[in-house]
C-alpha cells in the first residue's frame, strides 16, 4: 500500500536569494509581551505550549502549519507512506542552521533519537514513532508502532536540532528533572528557523534577530524581536499604552474596549480553537449524594441540565458577546467537526423540569459543580451563572470554584459531579484528540481526561478505529459519528468557543491564529 501525500506548494521552494532583497532596509523591531515566559530553550525538555510557540521562531519542523493552519512542507519536501508503519520523508536541500552547519538526514535522526530518549520530557509528543532511519543524505524513514494517521500533526511540533552542534556542546542527551541535567541546549539554541536567538534572560527578556539565510522567503519584515514577559494584566496593558511594548498576546478581555478606544492601538479578535464544556459524573453515585443511584446516568437528566442553561445570556453577559455558543465538542476548523451537530439544546426551563420529572426527579436532585477560577476566560462567572440556572430548574447545586492548581487534581481524581473543562485539541489539532482523551473509557493510552466513568462501547470502538484509519474520509466519518453519539446522549454539555484577542499598535500587522500561537514570521511593522 503506497499512498502518495505529496503536496508541495509552489511558492515554498523559493530560493534564499529572494530573502536577501529585504535586508538592508531600516531596522524593524517588534517588542511584545505575554504573561508567561519561555521555560527552557531545549525543545525536548518540556511540554508547555507557550515555550513550543517561542521555539518555533528559532527551530523548524519537518512540516508546519500555514496561515490557514493547514499542514504544509517545511524541512521535509514530500512524504510517502511506504507501509502502514513506515513513512518516508524527502528532505529540503541547501538548508543551513544558524551556525552555518548544513541540514541533512543525520540531523533528523539525531533529533528523533534525542527526543525518544527515556529522559526526554517531550517524548510523548512522538509516542507512536519507534525510530528514524537515514536512507541517504536527504531521505529519512520513520518507523511507527502501527498504522497512525496523525504522524504529520505530531511532526509539526517536533523541532529539528543540529547533530554536530549537539555533539560539540555535549548536549546529545536531553535535560532531565530528576538528575538535574541541564545542557548547553537549555539556554542556547541553534535552529534553521526564521529568527536567530540573540539572548535569553528568563523572566526578563528574550531577543531574536531575523535570520538572513532562512530557506523560506520571509513573509515578515522584522529585523529584531524583543520579548518581555509581564505577569500582571494591568501592567501589561499599561506597558502597551505607554508605548514600551508594541503588542500583547493575549489581551485581557476586560481591557479590550479601553485599548481599542485608545489612539493608535487596535484589538484583533478571532474565535479560538478552545471550546468550553461541562463534564458530568457517569459513575454509580453522585459525589453530592452518595448511597443513592446517580441521576446523571439517565440521558433525560443530562438533557434537562443542558436545556436549563441559558447559553445566550452567558454569551451576552458573562462573555461580553465575544464568545460563540456551540453544540459540539470541537471548533469548526478541526477535522471531525460537523456543522449539523453544532447546535445546542434550546434553553427551556419547562422542558428541563419535564425531563427531570419523567426521569423520576420531579423535585430535582443534589449535585456538585466544580470550576476553576483562573484557567479559562470568565470561568468562575460562567459557573456562577450555570449554578443559578440549574437552581431555577429545581436542581440543588453545590458550587465550588478554586485555582487551577488545586482544581485539576480534583477533577483528575473524579471528585466532582459536574466540572468545567476546556479543550483545544492541541497540539494535534484534530478531533481524534477529543475522542481518545475525553470520550474513550479510561485505560492504557485512552481516556486520559475521562476521570468520571464515561464508558460507551460505541465510542471506544469508533476511537480505536479512527486511531489506525489511514483513509481520511473514513477516519473523519468515525470521529463525526463519535461526536454525534456524544451529543445525542448529552455526555457533555458544550458551552462556548473562547475568543482569542491580541492588542497592538495600529502600525503593526500580526495575524491572530485560532490555536493562540504567535507566529511572528507573518508579522509586519509598517
Amino acid at each position: 500500500m503506497t499512498i502518495l501525500r505529496t503536496t508541495v506548494l509552489a511558492g515554498l521552494a523559493a530560493s534564499a536569494t529572494l530573502a536577501m532583497t529585504l535586508t538592508g532596509a531600516e531596522a524593524k523591531t517588534l517588542r511584545w509581551s505575554s504573561q508567561g515566559d519561555i521555560a527552557t530553550m531545549d525543545p525536548y525538555a518540556h511540554t508547555e505550549s507557550f515555550t513550543s510557540n517561542m521555539h518555533h521562531h528559532i527551530y523548524d519542523s519537518l512540516v508546519r502549519r500555514n496561515k490557514d493552519l493547514q499542514i504544509e512542507p517545511a524541512l521535509a519536501l514530500s512524504w510517502t507512506v511506504e507501509a502502514p508503519d513506515r513513512w518516508r520523508f524527502k528532505l529540503r536541500q541547501g538548508v543551513k542552521f544558524h551556525n552555518g552547519n548544513a541540514f541533512t538526514a543525520d540531523d533528523v535522526v539525531a533529533s528523533v533519537t534525542r527526543l525518544l530518549d527515556p529522559a526526554a520530557r517531550a517524548r510523548g509528543n512522538l509516542s507512536n514513532v519507534v525510530k528514524a532511519e537515514k536512507i541517504d543524505d536527504f531521505t529519512v524513514d520513520f518507523f511507527l508502532r502501527g498504522p497512525y494517521p496523525l504522524l504529520l500533526n505530531d511532526l509539526s511540533g517536533i523541532f529539528i536540532m543540529d547533530k554536530e552542534w549537539l555533539e560539540a556542546n555535549n548536549a546529545t542527551k536531553p535535560g532531565n528533572t530528576t538528575t538535574g541535567v541541564t545542557t548547553f541546549a537549555s539556554t542556547n539554541a541553534n535552529g534553521t528557523g526564521p529568527f536567530v536567538l540573540e539572548s535569553y534572560q528568563p523572566d526578563n527578556r528574550t531577543i531574536m534577530t531575523a535570520n538572513p539565510n532562512w530557506w523560506d522567503k520571509p513573509a515578515h519584515n522584522l529585523t529584531r524581536i524583543e520579548f518581555r514577559p509581564i505577569k500582571s494584566d494591568a501592567t501589561r496593558v499599561a506597558a502597551l499604552l505607554s508605548g514600551e511594548i508594541d503588542m500583547m498576546a493575549p489581551a485581557p478581555l476586560q481591557d479590550l474596549a479601553r485599548i481599542g478606544g485608545a489612539d493608535g492601538f487596535k484589538v484583533v479578535e478571532e474565535p479560538s480553537l478552545r471550546l468550553i464544556f461541562l463534564g458530568l459524573n457517569h459513575r454509580a453515585e453522585l459525589q453530592a449524594d452518595p448511597g443513592k443511584p446517580n441521576p446523571m446516568r439517565d440521558k433525560r437528566v443530562r438533557q434537562a441540565l443542558w436545556h436549563a442553561i441559558d447559553l445566550d445570556t452567558i454569551h451576552r453577559r458573562v462573555m461580553r458577546a465575544k464568545s460563540r455558543t456551540v453544540g459540539t465538542m470541537v471548533a469548526p476548523p478541526i477535522p471531525g467537526y460537523s456543522a449539523a451537530l453544532d447546535a445546542p439544546l434550546p434553553f427551556n426551563v419547562d422542558t428541563a423540569k419535564k425531563l427531570l420529572a419523567e426521569a423520576g426527579y420531579p423535585n430535582g436532585f443534589k449535585t456538585k459543580l466544580n470550576c476553576s477560577n483562573d484557567r479559562y476566560i470568565a470561568d468562575e462567572q460562567t459557573c456562577v451563572a450555570i449554578a443559578a440556572m440549574w437552581t431555577r430548574a429545581g436542581v440543588t447545586v453545590d458550587l465550588k470554584t478554586e485555582s487551577r492548581a488545586t482544581y485539576f487534581p480534583l477533577v483528575d481524581k473524579g471528585e466532582s459531579d459536574a466540572y468545567i473543562l476546556g479543550w483545544a485539541t492541541l497540539p494535534p489539532m484534530d478531533g481524534y484528540s477529543v475522542a481518545s482523551a475525553l470520550l474513550h473509557s479510561k485505560g492504557g493510552a485512552f481516556g486520559g481526561n475521562n476521570p468520571n466513568g464515561l464508558a460507551d462501547p460505541r465510542l471506544d470502538d469508533l476511537t480505536k478505529k479512527a486511531a489506525v484509519e489511514l483513509d481520511e474520509p473514513k477516519r473523519l466519518a468515525f470521529l463525526t459519528e463519535a461526536l454525534k453519539i456524544t451529543r445525542d446522549e448529552a455526555y457533555f454539555i458544550p458551552l462556548h468557543q473562547q475568543p482569542v484577542a491580541w492588542a497592538m499598535k495600529k502600525a503593526i500587522d500580526v495575524p491572530v491564529f485560532a490555536d493562540e500561537y504567535v507566529r511572528l514570521w507573518f508579522a509586519k511593522v509598517n
Partner: protein, 323 residues
C-alpha cells in the same frame, strides 16, 4: 555570652526545622505538578511515569526524608519548570530584590525621619495635620493599588518612567546591578516608591511618637531650662534617643520587605525573588516554593538572632535572663 549565643543558635535550628516541615507539608496541598507539567492530552501512563520521575509516587514520609536530607546538605533541588538548580535561580534573583529593598529603605528613612520630627515639633500645625492624614492613606492603600496608580500617572499619562522591568543591568561577577545605567535607575523609581510608601508612614509615625515621648522627658526639660539652643536639643539630645527603636524596627522591616516584595515585584514585573515565587506558585513548582519559604525563614531567623545578640551585648541584664 557564649551561652546566649549557643542557646540562640539551638533555637534558630529548631525554628528552621519547623519551617522545613511546614514548607514541605504546605506544598503537598497546593496542587499536582504532574497535571500542570503534562500535555493537555497526555495518557494516564505518561502521567504515571512523570509522577515516578519526580519521586511524587513515593510515600509522603519517604519524600519528606529525602527532602530533609537534601536540604541539610544545602541542595534545594531542581525547579520542575525549567530544570535548573533552585539555589542558582535564587542567587540570580537576589540582587534585584536586594537593590529594590535597599532603595526603598533609604527612601523610607530619608523621608520618614524628617517628617516624623516635624510632626513632633509642630504637633498642631496645619502641615502636620495634612501629613498625618496623608500617612493614613499610605498605611491603608494596598500595594498593588499604589503601584497601578503610579504606573497610570507616570508611565501611561506622563510617559516619564518605565512601567515594568529592571532596565539594563551591569554584571559585577555574579551580582547584577541596575545602579550603573540610566534605564536601570529610572526603572527603580516607581517600584521603590511603591514599596517604600508603607515604610515611610510606619517610620514617620514611630519617630513622631518617640520624639513626643523624649521631648516630654526630664532631661529635655532641664536642657531647655539651661537655655540650650532648641536646634541642639532637638537634634543632639532628642532625636538620637528617639532613633534607637527606629533602628530596630527598620532592621526587622528589611526582612519583611525582602519577604513581602512579592506584590510590588508582580505589579512591576521586577525580576526578583518575589516574582520567582509567584511564578512557581502558578506552575506548582514545589522545589522553588519550598526553597523560597526556607530562604525567607532563614532571613527572619538570622535578623532576629542578630538583634537578640546585639541587645545582649548592649544590655547585660539580658545575658542571664535569656540563657
Amino acid at each position: 555570652m557564649l551561652r546566649v549565643l549557643v542557646s540562640r543558635l539551638a533555637q534558630m535550628l529548631m525554628v528552621m526545622a519547623a519551617v522545613t516541615a511546614v514548607a514541605f507539608v504546605i506544598f503537598r496541598y497546593v496542587g499536582d505538578p504532574v497535571l500542570i507539567m503534562s500535555r493537555e492530552d497526555a495518557t494516564p501512563a505518561e502521567k504515571a511515569e512523570l509522577r515516578q520521575t519526580l519521586g511524587l509516587d513515593q510515600p509522603v514520609v519517604v519524600q519528606f526524608g529525602k527532602f530533609v536530607g537534601r536540604v541539610a546538605t544545602g541542595d534545594l533541588g531542581n525547579s520542575f519548570r525549567n530544570q535548573r538548580p533552585v539555589s542558582g535561580l535564587i542567587a540570580e534573583r537576589l540582587p534585584a530584590t536586594l537593590e529594590l529593598v535597599l532603595v526603598a529603605t533609604l527612601l523610607a528613612l530619608s523621608l520618614g525621619i524628617p517628617l516624623g520630627v516635624y510632626c513632633a515639633l509642630k504637633p498642631d500645625g496645619w502641615l502636620t495635620r495634612g501629613i498625618q492624614t496623608a500617612s493614613l492613606i499610605g498605611i491603608s492603600t494596598p500595594t498593588f493599588v499604589t503601584g497601578i496608580v503610579l504606573i497610570l500617572i507616570f508611565s501611561v499619562w506622563l510617559k516619564w518612567l518605565p512601567s515594568f522591568g529592571r532596565g539594563d543591568v551591569v554584571r559585577l561577577g555574579w551580582w547584577s546591578t541596575g545602579f550603573l545605567t540610566t534605564s536601570g535607575l529610572r526603572s527603580l523609581v516607581l517600584p521603590s516608591v511603591t514599596l517604600a510608601l508603607f515604610q515611610v508612614t510606619l517610620i514617620m509615625r514611630l519617630v513622631r511618637a518617640e520624639m513626643l515621648d523624649v521631648l516630654s522627658s526630664d532631661y529635655i526639660r532641664y536642657a531647655r531650662a539651661r537655655g540650650l539652643p532648641s536646634g541642639y536639643i532637638h537634634r543632639k539630645l532628642a532625636l538620637r534617643n528617639a532613633l534607637m527603636p527606629v533602628i530596630t524596627v527598620t532592621g526587622l522591616q528589611i526582612g519583611a520587605l525582602i519577604a513581602f516584595a512579592i506584590v510590588t515585584e508582580t505589579v512591576f514585573q521586577w525580576p526578583g525573588m518575589g516574582l520567582l515565587f509567584i511564578q512557581a506558585v502558578s506552575f506548582v513548582d514545589l522545589p522553588v516554593m519550598a526553597a523560597y519559604l526556607l530562604f525567607v525563614g532563614f532571613i527572619f531567623v538570622t535578623i532576629n538572632m542578630a538583634v537578640d545578640v546585639i541587645y545582649a551585648l548592649v544590655d547585660p541584664r539580658l545575658r542571664t535572663r535569656a540563657a
